[in-house]
C-alpha cells in the first residue's frame, strides 16, 4: 500500500518504457525508409541535390539513428534503479537486453563519434534486415515490459 521506492521505480520505468517504445517505432520506420527507398524510383534519395522534402526525410532518418545511445542509456538507467530497489526479478528480466546493448555497442564499427551505424555498410541488405528485425524484437520487448511494469506498479502500490 505504501508508495515505496520500488513503486516509484516502476512508475519511472513505465514512463521511460513508453519513450523507448516510441524510439523503437521510430527506428523501425527509419530502416524501413532506407530499405524501401529504392523501390519507388521517382522518390529516390538524392544526396547531391536534396530537395527540401528530402532533407527533412534524411534528417528524420538521421535523428532516428542517433536515438540509439539515448535508448541504451535510458534502459541502463532504470536497470540501475531496479537494482537499487532490489527488484531482482525485474532486473533479471532486463539483464539480457542490457547485455545485448553492451555487446552491440562494443562491437560497433570503428568510429570517432558516438553511434552504431556505419553509412558505408548500412545499405548492405543483410545489415539492414538485421537492424529491422532488431527493431521489431525490441518493440515487442518494450511493449511486454510496459505492461509488466504497469502490473508491477499497481501491485506494489495496492499491496
Amino acid at each position: 500500500m505504501a508508495f515505496t521506492f520500488a513503486a516509484f521505480c516502476y512508475m519511472l520505468a513505465l514512463l521511460l518504457t513508453a519513450a523507448l517504445i516510441f524510439f523503437a517505432i521510430w527506428h523501425i520506420i527509419a530502416f524501413d525508409e532506407l530499405k524501401t527507398d529504392y523501390k519507388n524510383p521517382i522518390d529516390q534519395c538524392n544526396t547531391l541535390n536534396p530537395t527540401v522534402e528530402k532533407v527533412k526525410k534524411i534528417k528524420r532518418v538521421k535523428i532516428a539513428l542517433k536515438l540509439v545511445l539515448p535508448e541504451y542509456l535510458i534502459h541502463a538507467f532504470f536497470c540501475v534503479m531496479f537494482l537499487c530497489a532490489a527488484e531482482w526479478l525485474t532486473l533479471g528480466l532486463n539483464m539480457p537486453l542490457l547485455a545485448y546493448h553492451i555487446w552491440r555497442y562494443m562491437s560497433r564499427p570503428v568510429m570517432s563519434g558516438p553511434g552504431l551505424y556505419d553509412p558505408t555498410t548500412i545499405m548492405n541488405a543483410d545489415i539492414l534486415a538485421y537492424c529491422q528485425k532488431e527493431g521489431w524484437c525490441k518493440l515487442a520487448f518494450y511493449l511486454l515490459a510496459f505492461f509488466y511494469y504497469l502490473y508491477g506498479m499497481i501491485y506494489l502500490v495496492s499491496s
Binding site: L34, K35, D37, Y38, P41, I42, D43, Q44, C45, N46, T47, L48, N49, T51, V52, K54, P109, V110, M111, S112, D118, P119, T120, M123, N124, A125, D126, L128, A129
Partner: protein, 1212 residues
Amino acid sequence: MQVLSGYGLHHQNYIASSGHYSQGPGKMTSLPLDTQCGDYYSALYTVPTQNVTVNTVNQQPGAQQMYSRGPPASHIVGSTLGSFQGAASSASHLHTSASQPYSSFVNHYNSPAMYSANSSVASQGFPSTCGHYAVSTVSNAAYPSVSYPSLPAGDTYGQMFTSQSAPTIRPVKDNSFSGQNTAISHPLPLPHPPSQQHQQQQSLSGYNTLTWSAPGLPSTQDNLIRNHTGSLAVANNNPTITDSLSCPVMQNVQPPKSSPVVSTVLSGSSSTRTPPTANHPVEPVTSVTQPSELLQQKGMQYGEYVNNQASSAPTPLSSTSDDEEEEEEDEEAGVDSSSTTSSASPMPNSYDALEGGSYPDMLSSSASSPAPDPAPEPDPASAPAPVSAAAPVIPQPSKMAKPFGYGYPTLQPGYQNTTAPLTSGVQPSNPVYSGFQQYPQYPGVNQLSSSLGGLSLQSSPQPESLRPVNLTQERNILPMTPVWAPVPNLNADLKKLNCSPDSFRCTLTNIPQTQALLNKAKLPLGLLLHPFRDLTQLPVITSNTIVRCRSCRTYINPFVSFIDQRRWKCNLCYRVNDVPEEFMYNPLTRSYGEPHKRPEVQNSTVEFIASSDYMLRPPQPAVYLFVLDVSHNAVEAGYLTILCQSLLENLDKLPGDSRTRIGFMTFDSTIHFYNLQEGLSQPQMLIVSDIDDVFLPTPDSLLVNLYESKELIKDLLNALPNMFTNTRETHSALGPALQAAFKLMSPTGGRVSVFQTQLPSLGAGLLQSREDPNQRSSTKVVQHLGPATDFYKKLALDCSGQQTAVDLFLLSSQYSDLASLACMSKYSAGCIYYYPSFHYTHNPSQAEKLQKDLKRYLTRKIGFEAVMRIRCTKGLSMHTFHGNFFVRSTDLLSLANINPDAGFAVQLSIEESLTDTSLVCFQTALLYTSSKGERRIRVHTLCLPVVSSLADVYAGVDVQAAICLLANMAVDRSISSSLSDARDALVNAVVDSLSAYGSTLSNLQHSALMAPSSLKLFPLYVLALLKQKAFRTGTSTRLDDRVYAMCQIKSQPLVHLMRMIHPNLYRIDRLTDEGAIHVNDRVVPQPPLQKLSAEKLTREGAFLMDCGSVFYIWVGKGCDNNFIEDVLGYPNFASVPQKMTHLPELDTLSSERARSFITWLRDSRPLSPILHIVKDESPAKAEFFQHLIEDRTEAAFSYYEFLLHVQQQICK
C-alpha cells in the same frame, strides 16, 4: 552530306546554333578558326562550374559584360554571368534550347524552384506546338520535330535577348505564332543576313547545298532550313516526312519577315557583344570543313556539346510529362522517356552507332574509323546526321541510305546475323520469344515456352558439366587450356544476344527457382561485373528518348518481349510499356515499325548518350589533382622523378577536353600549393603551415586549365623532383593535405591521386604503427585488418558526395597501415596501388612497374560523377556489394570516378519463387560523364535460365565466378570477424557444396569424393585462395601485403583476380607453333597449362608463371643451353645473373616465340606485370615456389591432403 558519324551530327547542330549567333554580327569570316574553338567551348562549359562557385552573380549587368568582352581569358568569367542570366531568363521563357543544357543545370543546382519554373514554361510552350501539329500521324509526328533543331538556335538567341532585358517580347511572339512558335524562335536569330551567312558557311565549309538539298525544294528554302533548323537535317527521319517537308520550310521562311523587328532590337543592344558570338559560329564551321577531324578532340567536344544541346530541347517536355522525374536524375534514372514520347515529342531520333563509342583516340580508334571515313565529303552530310537527333528534317530516303551504311559499318554483319531470328521472335506467338517470359494471358504460349525451357535443358545430352568426377582419383584436374566461362543454357538466339562474360558473369548460369533450392545446392549466388571494361566495339546510341520501363526504369534490352508493334513487356518487372513513336523507326534498316531491330534490342551491351535529364549539373570537366608526399622518406625513395617524367610524357594524353584542369599539391609537415595561373612567369609555391585548420591560399588559381597553363605545368614538373632534395622534414601531414585536396576539388569533383610513402604522422588522421613483425607468420589471429580510425572513411564519404575520387599510390618500405589508408579510396570509388619497398635505384623492377602503371593510369579512360544501378528480375534481390564505391541506396552505387580496371561483385538472394518465369535478367546501368564532358549510360544486360532441379543448378556453376565471389565474401568476413573464420568459411563452402552434390548422386559412392565436372576445380581454387597472400597463415606475410591483396580481391575484375588466385604455369623452353594464334601479324604460341606443382617442374626446362601482376620465369639447372643462349642471351646456366627482369631481344626463333607469348600475356591486362627470371637455386626461388599451390608447405595442405580433409569433413 551523306556522312554521318555521330559526332558529325552534333557538329551540325552546333553550327546551327552558332550560326544564329554569327548572323547578328555578320562578320565572322575573318576570325581565326582554330584558336577560337577552344575558347568558345571552354567558355560555355566552364560556365556551369563557375556557377557553382560564384553563384551570387545573377545580375543583368553581368550578362552585358559577358558579351562585351571578347577574348578568351575574360570569357570564363563573363560567360558565367551570362549563363546565369540565361538560366534566369530561361525560366521565364519558352525557348531555352541552346542555353538549355546549362540553364537547366543551373536550375538544378541553384534552386528547385527555378527548375520548376522552367519546366512549367516549357510545358506551356510545348503543348501549343503540339496542338498545331496533331501528332497522330506519322508525318505529323515528324513535323514538330523539325522545328526543334532550330530551338537550340533560338535559345542562344533567347539567352542574349533576355539578358538584354527584353524578356517580354518572347512570350508575345510565342503566342502570336503559336503554331510555329518553336520555329519562330529560331528564325529570330537567323534573320539578318541569312544569305551572307549562308555564303560564309559555304565558303568555309564547302557546303554544297544544292547537291544535297531535298529535290523538291528551292535552294533558297534550303538555305533557310539549314540556317534555321540547324542547318542540317539530314538524317534519319522517316521517309514519310517528305511531304511535310515543305511545311517546315514554310515556317522557317516566315520568321525572317517577322524577325527584322526583333533583330533590330537585338542588334541595337547587342552590337557590343558580337565578337564573342562571332567566334562561336566560326569554330563549328571549322570542324565542319574538316570532316576528317571529326574524331579528333575538338570535333568530339563539339559533338558532345551539341549533343547536350540537342537533347536538351526536349527536356522541358519531358518534365512536363513527369514532374517528379527531375529529382531522380542524379541517379541513373533520368526522365521517363516513354512517357515523354507518348505525351509529346515524337522526334525521330537519330542515332549513330559509333564503334568503340567513346574515345576514339584511345582504344577504340581503330574500330571507329569506319564511321569517319565517309566524312571526307563536305560536311553538310556529317552535320546532318547529328542534327537528326534534334531535327530530322530531311526527307530523302535515297540519300539516307548511305549515311546509314556508314553509321553502322562494322556492326552490320553482326546485325544481319542476328536479326533474322529475332524478327520472328517478336511476335508473341512465336516460340522463340515466348521462351522469355510467360504471359498468363496466353496459356498456350505459356506451356509452349515452359516446355521449351525444359527442353533446352533436358533434351540436350547430359551436359558435360554434370559428369561426376572422382576428385581423389583424377590426377590432372586442371585442363590444358584456360578455363572459359560456361555458356548459359539458352536457345541459340538468346545466347548470341547475351552479354559477354567478360563484363557480366553470374556464379550460377542456371538460376535455381527458389531460395530453398539454392540453399540445397550450397553455392554462392552472385554477379561479377566489369562494367567499364575497355571495349573494342560498342554501339553508341543517340536518341532523344531513352526507352525505359515506366515502373522499374529498366532500359529496353534484347530480352524484352514485344507484345505487338506498339507495346513491349519489361523483362524485369513484367510491366507492359508503350513503344515510343521514335523507337518505331529503325535507323539500321531505315524502316518503320520494326522496333525489335533497333540496336538497343539487338545488343546486350549498349551505350546511350544521355540527355540533360540525366544530369544534376552540367557535366563536369576532367579535373586531376596530384597530392604528393615530399617528406624526406619520399625524396629518398625517388618516386617524384618517375611520376613527373610520366606526367610530362602523358600530359597530352590525359583524358579530357579543353576544359581539363589540373593541380598539384605537395606536403610534408606543411602543405604546399602551386599557383599555376596563366600569366605567371613561373609556378608559385604557397606554403600553408597551419595544418590544424587548413585553408586554400588562392582558391582560383590552384586548379588550372591544362592547356592554358601548360608551360607552367611543365616547368613545375621539371622542377619538382629537385625541389626537395635537401629536405630534412620527416613528418607527413597526409590528413590535412587530403582535407585541403577535398576543399580544392569540391566545387567540381574529379580525381585526386595521392602518393604516400609512410605512415601519416601529423595532424588529423595520424596513424600509429600497428604491426607486430613477430606476428607476421602467426597461425592464430591476424589483427588490424580493419581501419584504425574512421578519418579516412569520413573523408572518402565527403569526397564521394562531391564527386571526387581518391586514388592512393602507396610506395613505402615500411608498414604504413594500408588498412586505414585504403579507406580513402575504398569509399570514394578510387583505386589503390601498392609498391612495397619501392626505391628507384635499389628496386628497379618496382620503379619500372610504377612507370608502366602510371602510364596506364594516366591515359586510361575515366568516367566522372558516375552512378551504377543494378536491377534484376522481380523475385531476386541484391544484398552486399563488393568493390570500391559508396552504396547510396539498396541498389545504387555511387562512384565518383569509374575506371576501366574496376570490378564489382554483388551477392544475390532469391526472395520470391521464380516458378512463373523461365528466364531471369540482370541489368547494370552505369551513368557517367565522359572525360569529354558527355553524359553517357552504359547498359549491360545478362539473361539466364531458371531451373528447378538440383542437377541443373550444378550443371551451370561458373566455378571461377563462384571463387571470386567467395573471395570477396571471405575478405569481408576476415575484416568483420577474423581471418580464421574466413578460412573456415572457405573450406566449409567446398565441404558443403560437395556433400550436397554427393547426396544427389543415386549410386552412393561414399568412399569417393565426387564433384560435378563443372565444380571439379572448386577445391583446387579454394585451396589456392587459402594459400593466397590475403588469407594464408603460417607463412610470413606483411600486414600491408595482406591488406593490399584483400583490396585487390575486392576491386579487381574477374579475369585478373583469377590469375592472382590461381596463377598459370607454362613450360616455355619448348614453345612450338602448334595451336598458335595470330595476333596483329604475330604468331603467339599457346603452350598448355601445367598444374601448379613442383612435380611438373623439371630441371631440364624453363617455366613461365603468370601471377597477374608479376611473371616469373623459372630456369631449371639442367635447362637446355640452347634455350638459355637463344632466349636469355647467356651462354650457360651459370652465367645467368641472379636478378634479371628482361628478356633480351634476340633474333632467334625461340626468343621471338617466348617474347611474343609474354607480350601477348602482358597486353591482356591493364597493369604491366614485372618479369622476374628466377634461377633454380637462387634465393628468389622461394617466391616462385610459394605459388605452387598444389604442393605441401609447412603450414598448409597439399592439394591431395586438402581433398582428404574435405572428404573427412563430409563424412563427419
